[in-house]
Subunit: 480 residues, 2 copies
């Protein structure tokens, strides 16, 4: 005879209570938060797509304490949701029961080695602080994204973060040499590799990078540093649309690959929202144009004449009609002003009402085709919808955002989310693209992943998950 | 009652005979080679450390045929050793029974997309042919190593090959976007990702890259292409030894990181062997110096004045004493002649008698310290031994080769292999280095791996192996 539901709930509650006591003994009662009000900021993301529940919020201060937490939770069969700065967008850090393990107290820079061009940091270090620590030794840590003032490197690692420097330096994955990871059973993997070349067995670090906390808890990482750029040329360029932008990108890459760091794209509709809503942003050109590119060249060599290089390519592109007009920032403040047009894109869409967002990528050779095709298909579905495609054109990664028609209410528009998803993702898939370029899968895109991913890849992912986390302790209900 | 050994052997032989028939039906009898004489070239590596045995050599022509071979072998419980150009150095491709699956007939370039800067190739493509296919679209595929005329990209992938372009472009792992892999049970994983940004689930490709064929058979890959350098500056620089070389490397990287492609190191002893034995190689300097660096800057921008950049850094380094003398190649043929001094290093050690080799890496900040410490320790063990350290200094990767004393026979010297291994590897380990930088583990370094690798990393590797290849069909006895 099985126990009644109430008796069973009581047993569970007693187990949780015992676990809380053990966790408090291990890391200190102050750092085992069970008051729901005190946990509030940890139970949902900013976008508010999901609100979670948790038995407790754990704030361990060392790798050993993380390992102890993992061991105790595993023994109690209680799930762990690792959480960094909680700046995610896909519900990956939202708990559905279990404990939240926050990494904010794992915040030491353990080592900086300028000659080896590496920095060893703990997972809870805030990205902006890491950038500053690199800068202090005259080096660059290139990862840069909107939330850098609050996101933590552990979250950047778990989600394989992208951002605005991928074209030159790669994704988070490409910026890591080694990891320290607490496995679901509490063992500590020391793979803090400092080496550029190391062929001693399977690559383990890449398994955890981008796994969104479903395979273990990243507690520290060895990051790559780069020579600090000392000069840059920044251009804001008007063009006819995506085809011209692609031609210009190809030309710019062929001539300036060594220094090309940024190639972003934005259409007029999205730029107009910035001009209308972002404080202090003005159109750098007199005429109105269909689309724009923000292009930046950077170099660690002070003698490089990047403005001249930029001008040479843009002049040639002007001759062919790829470029309609261009502004090259003449001072640092002018360059910053051009960047501000890009940086305010996301927030400037908010005052215009609800937005249906897609973080997608296609091969760079298809990116113009994708914009044209997907815009046409979405407009066919809803002619008054306002497409605001923008993003990392040179990476083939677009934030294909759709703002609601001016005269439609948010709820009616958002009811079309699944329909627009299907339209956009089908086109992405047909073009060998990805339904998540830099935000991850989390909870939001689980069903979409099952629809589009190679079935053998899905099976293999599940085999790996079962091998490393057979009890499904780590961030259950995410990704897979 | 168990069958007698003879009866058991007969059962096995009958099973093998059935398997051969099934394989012949599947891929054609011509491509199932069982004649030991015809297999001879496939049973050992050039260095001849191990000689293997095999039931058959399979030469499938397509991914589907590879999958069928895998399914049939798995059903028969027969091991598969994947083999590319058979240019490995650590016994990773030598079979101990089972079948050898050669990839030479999987040799199509499936697709080249210059705008996306990718090329999709099959595993059996020879590296030099891939370089040429990239060149044909005015692009660079940067992987470059001594065996490029015969090694296959599948082998480069399985061993995460290094070579002379790692400083600028990374290892093989960094040059890959996607893979197609036949799993041990015959399923085909299609992860032929063409995208720069793709966060749709676990990273699977890196699991197979560098796994030395123990997890599956790589049948195709998406490779990254780069803008083709159109100008280069090449310098051969004399210095006092490793400390000066490290100071010069740091200076060169700070000034020329965007363009620094090569920073190789060689001591006089090793250079002297090149001058003595390599046809046409002459000392570019009048005086004899303790050590040398080969440095190259490259750029895709024709206007870059790389010689001037190189001179500026070398002049500053001359002032501080880091540089004793320097030759900058004035013509392409002079540059090639400077490269020849580097390229003939390995073969020029052969006429000097037996050599004990170590392919090791340490953090770049420790590389000078490593050379000094390891040389001293090895000379303490055998004062007449002739140390010939050379290699990829800027990657922290040295080929720490030891030539036998002039008056010792090879056998006596080679008996010291384990002793020298212990001396060198202990120092490497103490400096957080790797006992295999670019050659892999294979059979040669299995025991050493167990000695030095993090025990949890070893456990995790075994968990992954068991999850993906529970019957241990794929290249058994290698790595783990």
């Amino acid at each position: 005879m099985s126990p009644s539901p109430n008796a069973s709930a009581a047993v569970v509650a007693e187990g949780h209570s015992k676990l809380i006591t053990l966790l408090s003994d291990a890391i200190g009662a102050t750092y085992v938060v069970t008051d729901p009000a005190a946990m509030m900021g940890r139970l949902a993301e900013d976008r508010g797509l999901y609100t979670g529940t948790a038995i407790a919020l754990l704030r361990p201060a060392s790798t050993d304490e993380v390992a102890t937490c993992a061991r105790l939770c595993a023994a109690a069969g209680v799930a762990i949701v690792p959480q960094g700065g909680n700046t995610g967008l896909v519900g990956g850090g939202v708990a559905n029961g279990g404990v939240i393990l926050a990494t904010d107290r794992l915040n030491r820079v353990r080592d900086v080695d300028p000659t080896n061009a590496t920095m060893t940091v703990e997972a809870g270090c805030i990205l902006a602080n890491i950038q500053q620590a690199a800068d202090a030794v005259d080096a660059l840590f290139p990862l840069s994204l909107a939330s850098e003032g609050s996101c933590q490197i552990g979250g950047n690692l778990a989600t394989n973060a992208g951002g605005t420097a991928v074209l030159r330096y790669g994704n988070m994955r490409e910026l890591v040499l080694g990891l320290e990871v607490v496995l679901p059973d509490g063992r500590v993997l020391n793979d803090l590799n400092l080496l550029r070349k190391n062929n001693t067995g399977y690559d383990l670090r890449n398994l955890f990078i981008g796994a969104e906390g479903t395979l273990g808890i990243i507690t520290a990482a060895v990051l790559k540093l780069f020579p600090k750029p000392v000069t840059r040329a920044t251009a804001f360029v008007a063009c006819d649309g995506p085809d011209s932008a692609l031609a210009l990108y190809t030309r710019m890459r062929a001539q300036n690959a060594d220094t090309l760091s940024t190639f972003e794209y934005v259409e007029r509709m999205a730029l107009q929202m910035v001009l209308d809503h972002a404080h202090g942003c003005t159109d750098p050109m007199d005429a109105v144009h269909p689309a724009y590119c923000l292009i930046e060249l950077t170099s660690a060599n002070a003698q490089d004449t990047l403005d001249a290089r930029m001008e040479a390519v843009l002049e040639a592109a002007f001759e062919t009609g790829e470029v309609r007009d261009a502004v090259i920032g003449a001072s640092e403040s002018q360059k910053d002003a051009l960047w501000a047009l890009r940086e305010h894109l996301s927030e400037s869409q908010k005052p215009e009402g609800a937005s249906i967002k897609h973080d997608v990528s296609v091969p760079v050779s298809r990116v113009a085709d994708f914009i044209t095709t997907a815009k046409a298909a979405c407009l066919a579905h809803m002619p008054d919808m306002r497409p605001c495609p923008f993003g990392h054109f040179g990476d083939g990664n677009l934030h294909f955002n759709l703002s609601r028609p001016k005269n439609m209410d948010d709820t009616t528009f958002l009811a079309e989310y699944p329909a627009f998803n299907r339209i956009v993702h089908d086109i992405v898939h047909e073009m060998h693209g990805a339904i998540s370029a830099e935000h991850g899968i989390g909870q939001v895109k689980r069903a979409e992943l099952r629809r589009y991913k190679d079935p053998v890849a899905l099976e293999l992912m599940q085999q790996l998950k079962s091998a490393i986390d057979p009890a499904n302790i780590m961030n259950p209900g995410k990704v897979l």
